[in-house]
């Protein structure tokens, strides 16, 4: 059915280097702890989460009117608004804006939407050079890899590996992995890029319907450097990025970075309102499957996501399998509930890449019931036939056995006898449990058998 490696296979590869898994796990856990310390300084934290969730409920129920209001307000200030039904339309719009300005080099700050749309690959095929200006994104771009985390794109890379990449591509001395030195090198390299690019693309964290302005949050100021120096600023946003009023930023900006990294606020939360004289601002408003998700009652509130990445940092599976094991632009728990909407067959494995521990839902600043949606996606995926015949057959036998007390008692006894007298039947490499874990020791009788003898 599938010709790509699924999450379990990719995670197994990741786990071949246990020290690396430990390092990855500890790094992300440290960020989760920073988040905990930060949110515990806000006594009204849970109220803030609840408020954000309710504002987003309002947004999702009135999406079309807020988007039209935003469009009207933005256009009134001279911003050019485009609508893209899908990734292909979005990419084509970007290309046309560049072409009409005679531009073939662009600088781009962090935008998960453009990752989702595979914009870089598309533009490169069209002869447009794109340089990512977020440091982490630049690093994975040099490594020719996708980001492994939505907030920390190169969190899977050790500083020595980054040193090697910089040595190869930016000419730093071999063996130098000093973070400060490497950062300074990147700064010089990007400065030249900022100064010479006539077009800059940024993402959008929040678009405000009331005013037609949009807010871009970065820690590095790279969105501002790009946008302020370029003649053409293109901002790509998913339709769900809208918030009704400017005052609602007072809720979302407090939640975003505390959840993401434990910082009180992003270093730069920049408001873009209208183009400067003789410059252009384009906003591309993208659907790409979001309205389909909006129509799925069980999954619509996944569109509340503000892309903080807290669910990834807390997820014990993500920490031990790495972002690339999710083979999707957005990884981790939130990626696992967004991806099947885009392609149920390709991403049929992702909702199963979870123990349903529920930690993701608890850290989510907009209270998306992520683990409940993982459970629900499992049902939808199986009902749509994206499962294996062997699994279905096994589940049917299990279901039949467990629905019949006689069959259950016979099977239970047989199982215990097998473990007792023929443990080689299960203690072998065909049983995945046995690879790292022993089977339980079989007791001489079940509780049911004990009860029959000892009560009544």
């Amino acid at each position: 059915m599938e010709n790509h490696k699924d999450h379990a296979e990719l995670a197994e590869v990741f786990n071949k280097d246990e020290q690396r898994v430990d390092w990855h796990d500890e790094t992300l856990w440290w960020i989760r702890q920073k988040r905990d310390k930060s949110v515990n300084q806000i006594p009204e934290w849970e109220l803030l989460r609840d408020t954000a969730s309710q504002i987003k409920n309002n947004v999702l129920s009135n999406l079309s009117s807020y988007l039209r209001q935003f469009e009207t307000k933005a256009e009134a200030k001279g911003v050019i608004v485009h609508w893209a039904a899908d990734a292909a339309e979005h990419n084509q719009i970007v290309l046309e804006i560049l072409k009409s300005n005679g531009i073939n080099k662009m600088v781009k700050s962090k935008s998960m939407l453009t990752e989702e749309c595979h914009l870089n690959e598309f533009l490169e095929q069209q002869g447009v050079e794109v340089i990512d200006s977020d440091l982490g994104e630049r690093i994975v771009q040099l490594a020719k890899e996708p980001p492994s985390h939505i907030v920390l794109p190169c969190i899977h890379k050790k500083k020595e590996e980054i040193g090697e990449l910089f040595h190869k591509y930016l000419g730093t001395p071999a063996g130098n992995a000093d973070p400060q030195f490497l950062t300074e090198t990147a700064r010089q390299h990007l400065r030249e890029t900022f100064l010479t690019r006539r077009a800059a693309l940024t993402g959008v964290n929040f678009a405000i319907a009331e005013t037609g302005e949009f807010v871009v949050c970065t820690n590095e100021g790279n969105a501002d450097m790009g946008a302020h120096l370029a003649d053409v600023h293109i901002a790509s946003m998913g339709i769900e990025k809208i918030i009704p009023q400017r005052k609602h930023l007072g809720v979302f900006l407090r939640l975003l970075t505390r959840s993401a990294t434990g910082q009180p606020i992003t270093t730069y939360s920049s408001h873009f309102s209208k183009p400067r004289k003789d410059k252009e601002i384009h906003i591309i408003i993208v659907d790409n499957g979001r309205t389909v998700q909006l129509g799925r009652e069980d999954f619509r509130n996944s569109l509340k996501c503000i892309r903080c990445g807290a669910c990834m940092n807390t997820c014990p599976v993500y920490r031990r399998s790495g972002g690339h094991s999710y083979h999707n632009a957005i990884s981790g728990p939130i990626g696992s509930i967004l991806a099947p909407n885009l392609d149920m067959e390709k991403y049929a494995d992702l909702p199963f890449a979870s123990t349903l521990c529920g930690s993701c839902s608890n850290v989510c600043p907009v209270k998306i019931d992520i683990h409940q949606q993982l459970y629900k996606w499992r049902q939808v995926i199986v009902k749509n036939g994206y499962t294996t015949k062997a699994k279905t057959a096994a589940m049917q036998v299990m279901s039949w056995t467990l629905a019949s007390p006689t069959a259950y008692h016979t099977a239970g006894k047989a199982g215990r006898l097998t473990l007792k007298y023929a443990p080689f039947m299960v203690n072998n490499k065909l049983n995945p449990w046995y690879k790292h874990r022993d089977m339980p020791e079989p007791p001489k009788e079940s509780f049911g058998e004990w009860y029959n003898k000892n009560r009544k």
């Binding site: 786990n15 199963f352 049902q379 467990l402 009560r455």
Partner: protein, 244 residues
């Protein structure tokens, strides 16, 4: 008060000691306990694998076995959570709802219904407490580290009544053990690694026993402890609370 005792399938088959401890402690506390013999499973193994539509037989059987009791108690947060969220009866939805409302995980039945204030138990050992996710985050048996909210713990309050017990601290107080039902074989690599890491936290803090409200997590950690040749044992919380 008559309580129907629901013993999850794998506890029945592999951990009768945990079930016996539940039964005996409930009896000691003056409760009339009945164990319906035709019970099997809550249906969660199918449901969590995406086959909730195959759980009708388990639902019918569960309702048939347990609908008539004043309360139903089970030594598992995970099975109870599954039933509370998904037990249904197409012909009589109300009946399923009433049953799931009187369904309790074992420790919360002791703290919330029986309102146990003291126990005659003694357990002179160092014990690590594993917070099973479904009991903790699903049934709210104890506060969750992600939330900004005052701490509490139903299983912890019961363990505090046990004489001479020493609860060891942990680096990560409520991280999942990686069992996750069929996840433990479907995602073998990550599942095992999660179990190994969880066990290491308890070992680092000198636990002689690991306890919790769910035998499934404990079974997972026991499998890892045995493989490592560790002498550390797992015990269902009922076995400690029902101690000497």
């Amino acid at each position: 008060m008559t309580v129907g005792l629901f013993i999850p399938c794998y506890v029945d088959q592999f951990y009768p000691g945990a079930a016996i401890a539940c039964l005996q402690l409930l009896e000691k506390l003056g409760v009339t306990v009945v164990y319906p013999k035709n019970q099997t499973c809550c249906g969660q193994p199918m449901a969590n694998s995406g086959y909730q539509h195959l759980t009708g037989g388990c639902n019918d059987l569960f309702i048939k076995n347990f609908a008539e009791f004043d309360y139903v108690v089970a030594p598992s947060g995970s099975c109870v959570l599954h039933l509370k969220e998904h037990l249904h009866d197409e012909d009589n939805p109300q009946k399923a709802k009433e049953l799931s409302n009187k369904l309790y995980e074992f420790t919360s039945f002791l703290t919330d219904v029986l309102k146990v204030k003291d126990l005659p138990a003694r357990f002179p050992h160092k014990v690590g407490v594993h917070q099973s996710c479904h009991g903790q985050r699903g049934l709210h048996l104890s506060q969750m580290s992600e939330l900004v909210a005052p701490p509490f713990s139903k299983p912890g309050s019961l363990l505090n009544m046990v004489k001479d017990i020493e609860i060891v601290p942990l680096n990560r107080i409520d991280e999942c053990c990686g069992f996750g039902g069929t996840f433990c074989v479907a995602e073998e690599a990550v599942s095992s690694k999660m179990g190994i890491d969880r066990v290491a936290d308890h070992l680092e803090h000198g636990a002689e026993y690991i306890t919790g409200v769910d035998m499934s997590c404990l079974m997972h950690m026991e499998g890892i402890l045995h493989r490592q040749g560790s002498k550390v044992k797992v015990l269902h919380i009922a076995e400690i609370l029902n101690g000497e």
